[in-house]
Symmetry: none
Subunit: 203 residues, 4 copies
DNA sequence: TATGAATGAGCTTTCATTCAT
DNA sequence: AATGAATGAAAGCTCATTCAT
């Protein structure tokens, strides 16, 4: 009998190893050979686990989703905490690590590919789910803040949470575009200050 | 002399026509033949105006810069107006047209390419200039707001303007990622409301 | 000893199951995986029975030979019957079944491969034996006809039997090339009528 | 301006050069590089003239058709001659040249490919046209023979002409399968003798 | 014996770039 | 200046075959 392999696990492993490559070189410029090399496998072996190169990206996008969800898992537990924890969430999330950078680059490329959906399959399912999850998380925080009277009642919760999640992406993107000059700490601080000032004035 | 002008004009024309293609298909998937067809020229002719395919992208990125600057030109005149005009600026800019969408997609790809600078030339110069210009524009508005006492004096002008410009990109990106569900109007409205609430409380 | 018998039996079984595949897809397009699947075995197992893919074809060609011989076995018994039985033989043989179709397609491909003998092993041995057997069968019938005075004495028995066997293949081939329009029954009838008119005129 | 090329002529030229290769190696085993080498062109250049490898075969099949028609052109002029010319036609056609051999091999492969039409495009159009043309030619000869009273009135012209054309293919195939032992001359002679004996007995 | 994971040679196809006209 | 024919490097993908289990 041949070596028994957990196909899904191996798929995930290969995908994991591919992330850094995809981030650094981009989907098109990353060759199957590159991925095989990174995984320590032969070129052909990759095709035992993935039908096409695109399928690798699909699994990568799922990894990206799970990883993001996982890293927000702790924050989800904070939902019962007071609204200020939102700022902690932001601050935590904006501590951009190398892994997160890679994921963010892949995420951006996925978006572009989706925009060109006439050429690529729909990777957007994953991204939309991600956005929805994050937006819900933020929305629940805002609602809680509203309930506690810490936040103006006439806030459009949905719109604001969309805005916050979007601006979050914008900040990471701009930081990554110009790491040397973009002072992530100060911007984060201002972002949070901005947010907290938003509270209903405690008259 | 006139030759050079014509040459540059033609370069610009070709680049202009290439933008939609680059947005729709991406840099790699857009062939020289595509660009030549769009420009109504022969494939070889393109090489009379551009040394390489990448050079076309370089000119495209400059077009992108000029076009963005141009569209903000009117807004720049508003600098002497009261701070609330910032909201007008945002609202105006977030009226995303098809041309702007294309530019935004190319802009995003340029960013990705820059991130992979080991493979591509530096397109970041243009983007950084663009960010600097926009950030300055916003910063001046905030400063003016501060001077007029409409804005809290302890605001970190630089950080906030960076944040605003970044969040601006984030909003466009998220809108484009899910046009059908992302309610740009409501988000814009909330964005502005958010911003205006930021004002120093008029005690 | 019994091992060898089993081995050969299994080889034959696998080859049998491969025939339809080979007919439908062709040798090159039929993968070892296809054959393994059809045989209900693992890919690696096939290599316990065959050294190479080509060897499978070799055994298939032997199966083809045996099957053809077998189907002509009954006819061989008719040799002592009067010459008109030749027409019965033809009529019977031209009742093309699906199995025979598959065999015929494989047979044709074997011929092509043999023609390209610089690339493939010699499958012709089998085919030549087959032709020789059939030609002999037909020749004996003609000779018998001659002896009985039913057939012109100056007939070139060898040449005519070669011709008849060859034309037999041609008819099947043309029928298979255009099943819908090629009226096999009428052609068979005319073939036989043609043959019988060939008899020495009964003066 | 670039070199002006007659695309169709070049396509035809490339196809012509490909015929011998296709005959000798088969479609699958013939690589684009082989064809390019034979045509004295670069591999990429082939793709200026053909979208796919299969398209080359398509043009080859058309060449095959035209060449066959051309070689029967002279015979077509003989239609007004007495029926015995049919035998001349057969004799002429069975003088198998190397070019004809190649064409015949390609023709056989085309047939196989068509039989596997789930995998390959329909090349049969060409072959069916060819058969129809040849069958008509033969049928007209038979009819003329009938009119001149040289041929039995109750002959099924269509079926017989189908049979003759098919047997013609069978003879060439068998000859090519065993050139050394298959005595084409004697078989041709017997084929013709056979045919002529078919005449209505001149009582 | 039976298996399928692993492999890499080899294929088709694409395309930026060159260059003769 | 303008063109498109020519090119070959490079990529994705297939599959016969090997081999550890």
């Amino acid at each position: 009998m041949p070596k028994i392999v957990n196909r899904d696990k191996k798929r995930s492993e290969i995908a994991q190893k591919a992330i850094a490559l995809l981030a650094k070189k981009g989907f098109q410029a990353t060759t199957i050979q590159d991925i095989a090399d990174a995984a320590g496998l032969g070129k052909g072996t990759i095709y035992h686990y993935f039908k096409t190169k695109e399928e690798i990206l699909l699994v990568v996008s799922e990894e990206l989703f799970h990883e993001t969800e996982r890293s927000f898992g702790a924050a989800l537990l904070l939902i019962n905490e007071p609204m200020e924890k939102l700022s902690v969430l932001i601050a935590e999330a904006l501590k951009v690590t190398e892994d997160l950078e890679n994921l963010f680059v892949v995420y951006t490329e996925l978006w572009l590919m989706n925009f060109r959906c006439n050429h690529y399959k729909d990777f957007m399912g994953v991204i939309n789910r991600l956005h929805k999850d994050m937006t819900n998380l933020v929305a629940r925080m805002i609602d809680q803040g509203k309930k506690q009277g810490l936040w103006s009642k006439d806030t459009d919760t949905d719109a604001l949470s969309c805005y916050l999640v979007a601006s979050f992406d914008g900040v990471i993107a701009h930081y990554m575009m110009d790491k040397e000059n973009f002072d992530l700490k100060r911007v984060t601080k201002e972002f949070i200050r901005f947010l907290l000032q938003h509270e209903a004035p405690k008259k």
